[in-house]
């Protein structure tokens, strides 16, 4: 039987506010345990939450970016459950009236087609702390630094049909929140993570199959692997005549498998109810319009503009707009060098290669946009050849200065003085009479030999076009 996979994602993205969603404590990552948790974050008796409106503004930005409904009134609700790293015994979240309603994003599939994925809702909530099980023999350590960090939970429709689509969707959301600068999107630090609801059904069947929920997956790679594993597991069960159990499962990245966490029967009753400590959040149209005016250009629009303005191919434009940092870098290089196509090639080729090798992000590149533009200008004005430029790039990467300084100090400047080249050409022709004969006999390929000789003599600095022209002229004499 042919099976169809149905996937919906719940993405939790930490919002990049300076302070927490309901307290004034800082949100910075990596501080010593419990040094960024105030009385409110600790849930001490008598303390009360006060909403950080910056988190609301960030949620509105996201809503505008996915063309969603922004609720004029939304309500914070308490999600009640006991856990040691949940200080109040409830999480302040949103339930019946989320801040962001229905919206959509477009993802691109590998075959070049695109697909619209519905976003059901997005709501604000506070993150919990962390339980640390290592280093405490027979005990658990609690770090509440993360408690109260604002999260935007983005819930998709069950619109994805493969792990690849799920990854494309997740990447798209990641790119949007980074473009909006509402989240650092750092997956290692847990700023961007997701739960996946997965089911399979016979192709053509309308009803969904029974789903399993995979919890807390924090990398694009793991999402794909976890879903693939889970889909296969469910198909195996169904094909051997079994039934999929509705349950929450955990993905073990080390073993590459999912395993049950709790079943439907054990599912929590969170006893949601509106939080009486917080007033409903009212969002006036003026506020939305004010934020709309400050919206940055988003990936899709930017991509279209790059294609038009810089005459880039679709794929190049997609690559260069995947992140805002990348797009900004490209635009800086392209504008400064006035060579968009060459800029794109260098960024996607040499620069990306070096970045990948050292596992760096574009904003960590030792070669700034200005430096790369400088290099491209030297290629364009024939100061250096493309081949020499690669050496210059590597030298720039290693911190040896900008292109001009490196060309100067290493004497890499192309030889374009026709007098000097001419005498070199004469010399090579005189010293290789056999090859001259061959050329004259019609063996055109021998030209390459002469070019090679000249390049060798000039350590690659001769201008290849000029050399070619001179050789042909002299050999034909």
């Amino acid at each position: 039987m042919e099976w169809e996979t149905v996937i919906g994602l719940e993405i939790h993205t930490q919002l990049a506010t300076k302070s927490k969603i309901f307290s004034g404590a800082p949100t910075a990552y990596g501080a010593a345990p419990n040094t960024q948790a105030c009385a409110v974050d600790l849930g001490l008796p008598g303390v009360l939450p006060v909403l950080n409106h910056e988190a609301v503004n960030m949620a509105i930005k996201f809503g505008l970016a996915i063309d969603a409904e922004i609720s004029p009134i939304s309500v914070f609700a308490r999600k009640n459950y006991f856990y040691p790293d949940l200080p109040k015994g409830y999480q302040i979240s949103q339930y019946e009236l989320p801040i962001i309603g229905r919206g959509a994003v477009i993802i691109e599939l590998q075959d070049g087609s695109s697909k619209t994925i519905g976003v059901t809702r997005a709501h604000l909530e506070e993150d919990a702390g962390k339980s640390l099980h290592e280093d405490f023999h027979g005990m658990t350590g609690i770090d509440l630094n993360r408690a109260g960090t604002p999260l935007l939970e983005i819930v998709s429709e069950p619109d994805m049909r493969s792990a690849k689509e799920a990854v494309a969707y997740m990447r798209k959301i990641h790119s949007i929140v980074r473009y909006l600068e509402i989240s650092d999107g750092n997956m290692q630090e847990g700023s961007f993570r997701c739960d996946a609801n997965i089911s399979v059904r016979p192709k053509g069947q309308k009803e969904f199959g029974t789903r399993a929920e995979l919890k807390n997956i924090n990398s694009f790679r793991f999402v794909e692997r976890a879903i693939d594993y889970e889909v296969e597991r469910q198909i195996d069960i169904l094909e051997s005549g079994g039934e999929v159990v509705q349950e929450t499962r955990l993905y073990d990245a080390n073993k590459g498998e999912t395993r049950p966490m709790r079943s439907k029967e054990e599912a929590m009753d969170y006893r949601y109810f509106p939080d009486p400590d917080l007033l409903p959040v009212e969002i006036k149209p003026e506020v939305i319009e004010g934020i709309r005016k400050l919206m940055p250009e988003l990936p899709d629009t930017k991509k279209e503009r790059f294609i038009k303005e810089y005459k880039l191919g679709h794929e190049d434009a997609a690559f260069l707009t995947a992140s805002r940092d990348m797009a900004d870098y490209f635009e800086a290089v392209a504008t400064q060098s006035a060579e968009p196509k060459l800029s794109a090639n260098w960024i996607m080729g040499e620069l990306s290669g070096f970045l990948n090798k050292e596992n760096r992000e574009i904003n960590q590149s030792p070669v700034s946009a200005e430096m790369l533009a400088g290099l491209i200008q030297r290629i364009k004005d024939n100061t250096i050849s493309g081949k020499i430029a690669k050496d210059v790039f590597e030298a720039m990467w290693n911190g040896e200065g900008d292109a001009d300084a490196i060309i100067e100090s290493k004497g890499l400047k192309q030889i374009t003085d026709s007098g000097a080249l001419e005498s070199l050409v004469d010399e090579v022709i005189t010293n290789n009479p056999k090859q001259v004969e061959q050329f004259k006999a019609g063996k055109d390929k021998v030209l390459g030999f002469f070019v090679g000789q000249i390049m060798k003599a000039t350590q690659g600095k001769a201008n290849p076009a000029q050399v070619n022209e001179l050789l042909r002229k002299k050999l034909s004499e």
């Binding site: 008796p45 008598g46 009360l48 939450p49 040691p84 006893r271």
Partner: protein, 485 residues
């Protein structure tokens, strides 16, 4: 006879240097020491801190600075967090809890120069109407030590009634200021929801809780409210509306004041003696020029049931933070996480708290939420609407604060429903978020009876004015329990 003086009188004495705040505070501490043994109205007496504050107050007074509260000894209900002083909330759960911060109410009263002499006993987590649920033992009514003082601010009410302190703070979720004020024969004001910050006031039912003053007179309550009231950015439910000087209009004439008497507040269940006292008090108001109109609050009978869904629902969630993990009671040698939770909470909470957590958990459960919590919220709106319509016709609403005078210890302790009904006239006011005051209006069998006056939103000044004028022509509020003169 310094102890029987009101805040207004003491403030005058302090201004004139008849005595210093330190002398007054020492006298107050001595009186607590001598007389509280039979009442148990204090959980903590913070003598040293009080004397320190008193000396500071004296310095301010010497410079001609300060307010009407500067140098005046007061007691804080043990539900208000006090930096460095035990805040137990009447519970074993917080037997060891010393807050690292002051509640906004405490902070404001400190800023006004009040001297905190201690923390008063209360029903555990403010859940109770008799002060019998306290982990620190029951409080006794100074008018008859066999009787309860009411609750949950029973310690504050008993301490003021016995003239141990001139004033104390309380909190009122379903009547917890007004009912003990009534049963102890003092003045207790529950302000409009949002008038006084809840920051640092340990939450029982967040949408109903409101702090307020307990004092001998309406004038003193006004002085206290001046210090307590006001917007607090740390409490999102506090309302940003200007605070008037509540003492300014106390003497206003009551001519033409329209008093509504809800017929539902004078029906079955009301003690005949209490009804008689209230009738007399209304008569007094007529003499002061007020008009009396019969009104109806038709949804009144739904108030108690709605309250006992909403309040427990909120408390079941509010009290989840008491889990033995970060503060408060933790059981000995927990086996695992579940054991830690079960025994810490099982040992830390008393029976009434457990009962309300269970009721609330049930009411919020999937499948029951609509039938209980949501329906109770609808009832709440109906009750508010009753009051809204009533205030189209009248300026204030009057009636009994409680259906009976103080009952005896143990009398209702095993019968929660009867106990809950002792708040039948006060609960609707919390559900609607309105201000209400209870003032001494007479006696039945030597036990005090309180008159409740309910006002429209943010009309505390009108309530205080009505109460003050009554106290100028009557002396019920001046009666002191035998043995505490």
């Amino acid at each position: 006879m310094m102890h029987s003086k009101t805040i207004a009188e003491l403030a005058a004495g302090l201004q004139k240097r008849d005595f210093s705040s330190e002398e007054l505070t020492r006298a107050t501490l001595e009186r607590i020491e001598q007389h509280d043994g039979s009442l148990n109205s204090f959980i903590t007496v913070s003598g040293e801190l009080a004397l320190e504050q008193a000396r500071l107050a004296d310095q301010r007074l010497a410079k001609g600075e300060g307010s009407a509260l500067t140098g005046i000894p007061v007691a804080q209900k043990d539900i208000f967090c006090t930096d460095g002083v035990l805040t137990s909330c009447g519970s074993r759960m917080l037997e060891n809890f010393i807050a690292p911060y002051n509640a906004t109410v405490v902070e404001r009263m400190n800023a006004a120069g009040a001297v905190m002499v201690g923390k008063t006993n209360m029903d555990e987590f403010a859940m109770g109407s008799s002060n019998e649920t306290s982990y620190y033992g029951a409080v006794r009514n100074p008018w008859n030590t066999a009787a309860v003082p009411g609750g949950s601010s029973g310690g504050s009410a008993a301490a003021v009634a016995a003239r141990l302190v001139p004033a104390a703070t309380g909190t009122d979720t379903g009547g917890s200021i007004r009912q003990p004020a009534s049963l102890c024969g003092i003045t207790g004001l529950k302000p409009t929801y949002g008038r006084v910050s809840r920051y640092g006031m340990i939450a029982y039912a967040s949408s109903l809780d409101q702090g307020g003053p307990l004092a001998q007179t309406a004038e003193d309550a006004a002085i206290l409210l001046n210090a307590m009231a006001g917007f607090d950015e740390r409490d999102s439910t506090s309302v940003d509306t200007p605070v008037p000087d509540y003492t300014a209009g106390l003497g206003n004439d009551l001519g033409g004041l329209r008093i509504g008497l809800p017929k539902e507040y004078f029906s079955q269940g009301l003690d005949d003696g209490v009804a008689g006292v209230i009738d007399m008090a209304i008569g007094e108001y007529k003499k002061l020029g007020a008009e009396v109109v019969e009104i109806s609050l038709p949804n009144s009978p739904l108030a108690v049931p709605a309250y006992y869904v909403v309040a427990p629902a909120e408390c079941s969630s509010n009290l989840s933070r008491f889990d033995g993990v970060r503060f408060g009671h933790r059981c000995e040698a927990p086996k695992d996480l579940e054991d830690l939770y079960k025994r810490s909470r099982g040992e830390g909470f008393g029976a009434e708290v457990k009962r309300r957590i269970m009721i609330g958990t049930y009411a919020l459960s999937a499948g029951y939420y609509d039938a209980y919590y949501l329906k109770a919220q609808k009832v709440r709106r109906l009750i508010s609407e009753d009051f809204r319509q009533a205030f189209d016709k009248v300026d204030v609403i009057m009636g009994p604060t409680a259906p009976t005078v103080a009952f005896n210890l143990g009398e209702k302790a095993d019968d929660p429903i009867t106990m809950y009904l002792s708040d039948i006239y006060t609960i609707a006011v919390n559900l609607a978020g309105l201000p209400g005051i209870s003032i001494p209006a007479g006696f039945v069998k030597d036990m005090p009876v309180g008159l409740q006056i309910i006002g429209n939103y943010f009309e505390e000044a009108r309530l205080l004015n009505a109460a003050h004028r009554f106290q100028q022509t009557t002396d019920w509020h001046k009666q002191t329990p035998p043995g505490f003169e």
